[in-house]
Amino acid sequence: MKDLSEHILDIVGNSIRAGALLIEIGLEVLVIEKVLILRIRDNGCGMSEEMVARVTDPFVTSRTTRKVGLGLPFLKMNAELTGGAVKVASEEGKGTLVEALFYHHHIDFVPRGDLKGSMALIMSGNPNVDFVLSLKRGSDAFEIKSADIKEVLGDVPINHPKVGRFIKEMMDFSLLE
């Protein structure tokens, strides 16, 4: 993965495949610690304890189309390259939380990438799933919920390309800079 936005797209894909109906994506900057934390929490089918212990193994996947699963291992690699870590917590039937910690001033921290584009793609590409994006930096915060967008849109479909482009302009990632 070349950037953070692609990791988000990727890990959210796992949540969607787990049948989640609510996916919370959080990005938090801890200024003094120079840390960026990415949290993706879903209410999908969850995983057993044994699976949680093995998910960051590249040769473990729940898919049948192929024998490798590289999404989480890649995220783990990119977090660890900066001195950070990845934590996965899950409970069967309840959902999963993936937490990645990056020291984002580290030279090996991947670029943020097209976060706006990825978020718009995630929200408008999955009309049946609700997403909450929240950014936090100290006391500053930004939050956007796809449920609110859908409510405003009424009978206009959220997966229309023009809506997708508009959602992109509703994103504000300036808190991360």
Partner: protein, 130 residues
Amino acid sequence: MAKVKTLDDLRRMKDQLKSKISLRENGENPESMVQVKISMSTCGIASGAKEIMNFFMDEFDSQGLDAVVTQTGCMGYCYAEPTIEVTKPGEKPLVFGDVTTDKAMEIIEKYIKEGELVDGIIPDSYETIE
């Protein structure tokens, strides 16, 4: 820097948006349109599937073509990412591999518009995976 849009802006934009898209949405049923599915798993994303998806959406929009672009999971052709599946109305779906923006343009101009087959179809006897 462009101002960030809010929900209020969206509310204001909604009617305008509605009149623009109603024409297309009225006759909407996916079978009557060209469907393009972009494989967007780890393998696809890492190979640049997002860029291809944006390209298709922009191109269909600017050319006014009746087509839907959606995401799908890994089709098992990780060696040939980015892969896309194109379904024309009434025809069998076709999978194209190693799609670049140039290839995407060729697929639009030759296959989608003219029905002419282009290189890059995988495999020969393809059946759509549900």
